[in-house]
């Protein structure tokens, strides 16, 4: 049974975020709980933002990955309303990957921003609305690159 749970958990972990190819939904901290009862798997997840348009695709990808595991017939996916997603759910190595690959950064715990391109601290917020619900816009005055911030 535990072996099956491990395989299901691994299958969930293999699903990538549609907007960050190369980053799994588990690494982004979206997966809260995985359980298996008989041939039925259930996956509980937390959205970064409630109105995120990717939720259906993510759920579909999870169902496809999990029902491909031998021994699983059905997979229920549930989006939880609590706990809410916070940025400390993102694995530290993923933060680095987001910075180097996507020029997307996270605010430091003291509220400051560090430029993911040049490492400078002179990053200022430019707009609370980015191209995605979960991101705001900033700009580095040193290397003059626009930066996006997960929020």
């Amino acid at each position: 049974m535990t072996a099956l749970l491990d395989r299901v958990t691994a299958a969930v972990g293999s699903v990538h975020d549609p907007e960050y190819p190369g980053v799994s939904i588990a690494e982004l901290g979206l997966v809260e709980d995985v359980a298996v009862t008989g041939d039925r798997a259930s996956v509980q997840m937390i959205p970064t933002y409630g109105g995120c348009p990717a939720l259906n695709f993510i759920a579909e990808d999870v169902r496809t990955a999990v029902t491909a595991v031998p021994g699983v017939e059905v997979c229920d996916v549930e989006w939880l309303r609590s706990p809410i997603w916070t940025q400390d759910r993102v694995a530290p190595h993923v933060v680095q990957f987001l910075e180097s690959e996507f020029t997307v950064t996270l605010r430091r715990t003291d509220g400051t921003l560090v430029c993911p391109v040049c490492g400078s601290g002179t990053v200022r917020d430019t707009s609370p609305m980015g191209p995605s619900r979960c991101r705001s816009l900033a700009y580095c005055d040193d290397c003059r690159n626009p930066v996006e911030v997960m929020r």
Partner: protein
């Protein structure tokens, strides 16, 4: 650190060696001009595209589709925002100048945003066909793209557009598997949008195009257009739709026996008309965008820092 180059040959050697240009570099003026113009065109297109999608939020059938169109609109406007920032930073025009020239009808943007979306099926044809063409062309720019800030923004744009294409495919399949009325709605939309989508890639590239030489574009227009036709003709036919081209044929001998879809000779006059703001829906599109800009002047004004009375 400001890098300089002694002349264009020196700069070309840097580009050919895989160099990436950054905003603080003392880049050659012709490079700055061409790259700026290209990014401004891209920014204008994202903005005009976003406004098109916004029109369909209230008309999208169902809450889920409204949510998708809301999110796509936010994506496109956000992309425009990032691109205008990168463009303005090159120092040739301010963001306000770019916007005012766009709304005055003095700037260019993608041909596809000069046509009218008649029914909901047109919007799906746009999401499926036009987004795919834009995606292919953006991906080809991202592949090399020697201007650093643009390449970094493109990375995110390309990831998000890939996700939009999934929406387009899902919406198309719903119509394709629907009633006869739904299928004929899509066929009509395909007839209207096929050629504008194919023409989005532009006429054959000038072999001396500086954007190719400076590796902003990684492939010629005709290469991208050809690949698009090879992919989408069989896909649309497999869903039972008809490509509006009487001379379309598959030549099994073409490309060393690999075979290729060959189309009729493309009439580029409609594309040229859109570049002069003379497309079928250009005037309405531009005036709607201009009215939107005027209506939101109070927001920009409210965001301006103002001196506080002591």
């Amino acid at each position: 650190m400001t890098r300089t180059w002694s002349d264009l040959d020196d700069f070309q050697a840097f580009i050919d060696g895989g160099g990436m240009v950054e905003p603080n570099d003392d880049m050659p003026a012709p490079y700055r001009d061409e790259v700026f113009r290209f990014i401004e065109f891209h920014a204008n297109s994202e903005l005009m595209g976003g406004l098109t999608e916004r029109d369909w939020i209230p008309r999208a059938p169902g809450v889920r589709l409204k949510q998708i169109f809301l999110a796509k609109t936010q994506d496109e406007i956000g992309h425009a925002h990032l691109l205008y920032q990168v463009a303005a930073d090159m120092g040739l025009k301010t963001r306000t100048e770019m916007l005012e020239q766009l709304f005055d009808g003095r700037s260019r943007f993608h041909n596809v945003f000069h046509y009218q979306a008649v029914t909901w099926a047109d919007q799906i044809a746009i999401a499926y066909l036009v987004d795919a063409a834009a995606f292919a062309s953006q991906r080809a720019v991202f592949a090399e793209c020697t201007y650093g800030p643009y390449k970094r923004v493109l990375k995110r744009i390309v990831s998000e557009e890939g996700f939009h294409m999934r929406h387009g495919e899902e919406m198309l399949l719903r119509l394709a598997e629907g009633t006869d009325t739904q299928r004929s709605m899509f066929q009509d939309a395909l007839t209207r949008w096929w050629w504008p989508a194919v023409q989005l890639f532009g006429p054959d590239s000038d072999p001396n195009d500086p954007l190719l030489r400076w590796k902003i574009k990684s492939q010629t227009n005709e290469t991208l257009r050809h690949a698009y036709i090879q992919k989408y003709v069989p896909l649309l036919q497999s869903y039972g739709f008809e490509i509006p081209d009487d001379n379309l044929r598959f030549d099994a001998e073409a490309e060393d026996g690999k075979g290729a879809w060959l189309t009729t000779d493309i009439d580029w006059e409609p594309l040229k008309a859109t570049m002069r703001q003379g497309g079928p829906d250009s005037r309405r599109r531009i005036s709607t965008a201009a009215a939107n800009y005027a209506d939101t002047a109070w927001v920009r004004s409210a965001l301006e820092p103002k001196p506080v009375a002591a």
